[in-house]
Amino acid sequence: MLARSALRSARSAGAVARNAASKTTSRSSSTSSSTAEGAASSWKTNALPAGATAFAIGTVAWYYHLYGRNVDAMTPAEEGLHPTSYPWAHEKWHKTFDHQALRRGFQVYREVCASCHSLARIPYRSLVGTIMTVDEAKALAEENEYDTEPNDEGETEKRPGKLSDYLPSPYKNDEAARAANNGALPPDLSLMVKARHGGCNYIFSLLTGYPEEPPAGAVVPEGLNFNPYFPGTGIAMARVLYDDLVEYEDETPATTSQMAKDVTEFLNWAAEPEMDERKKMGWKVLAVTSVLTALSVWVKRYKWAPIKTRKLVYTPPIQTKSPITSKLPKPDQKS
């Protein structure tokens, strides 16, 4: 329908143009010009396409208004407050973890979080050479007891931990963990940074985001604590970090945010212990491949140079069939 009317308008626009043209020719002898008439007819010419465009834009806008916008299944409170994005130095492409911070963060984990959260994917050996010396890690492992291999009677005994053992979990199993925490399971923190939207920013915001009092009107169910960053805002973990809760061996002032930052960076290390090496390797790969790319571009140009610089000459065949031209005398006839 729209297309047909547009066609018709095009045809009538053509007619108008033709009329205008014939009028100007018929008046060509007179001095008066036809600009006023031309302007009027061009307004009429544009009215229909302009209207059609406006209609099309309006339709798209209306459709977007109906179906195009984000549809949130959850209310903002259920979604949780989006964490602030902090300028983490270790997230830059050319920076490693700050291993002094990792050491502090591990101290915070051991002294605060480890009573509820496991870190079951981290063996003592991975701490060696990243966070502590071999001797320190061995001493730490020996503080805990692990089961031996079963003997001939199938009995296991206890032995002190070794470097190859994994960090002990605070509870025997998830049920015990739930029972001790009001039914809420403190999740394993090994991969927590990768497991939550916002990563480091989320965990830092969560740990430091407990307000003194829940805001007026907020509904906090029994046994939960208000934290705007936690989806749903009611979290079973109470605020755990308070100023000077731990005493850092390197005498960094242990403020809440300092501890939160250190433990978050430590958890980031736990989730991706390969990060330092990965970044370095990435830069090396970029360096090598950029040289190889430059080389291959050069080789391509080198190989193509004769083809790109050749000159093609076309000599058309002489026409002999044409009866008239062949009979005509020519100024310089080629054989």
Partner: protein
């Protein structure tokens, strides 16, 4: 110049086994140079952040405890 390139060609590239040797030795040497160089740049960008930069403090401390 011509003397040098003739020398290089005759000693390294002319016979197949010297050519192969040249390829292997220079690959090894280039890799060593590249790795050492890039490690040095990386370590200077990240000075003070890596374990090897702070290790001395803790190795030293452990030895002091033993005494």
């Amino acid at each position: 110049m011509a003397g040098l390139s003739d020398f290089v060609y005759n000693t390294f590239l002319r016979r197949n086994f010297t050519m192969l040797g040249t390829v292997f030795v220079s690959a090894f040497a280039l890799q060593m140079a590249f790795d050492t160089g890039s490690d040095r740049i990386w370590d200077s960008i990240n000075r003070g952040r890596q374990w090897k930069d702070i290790k001395a403090k803790y190795v030293q401390a452990a030895e002091d405890d033993d005494e």
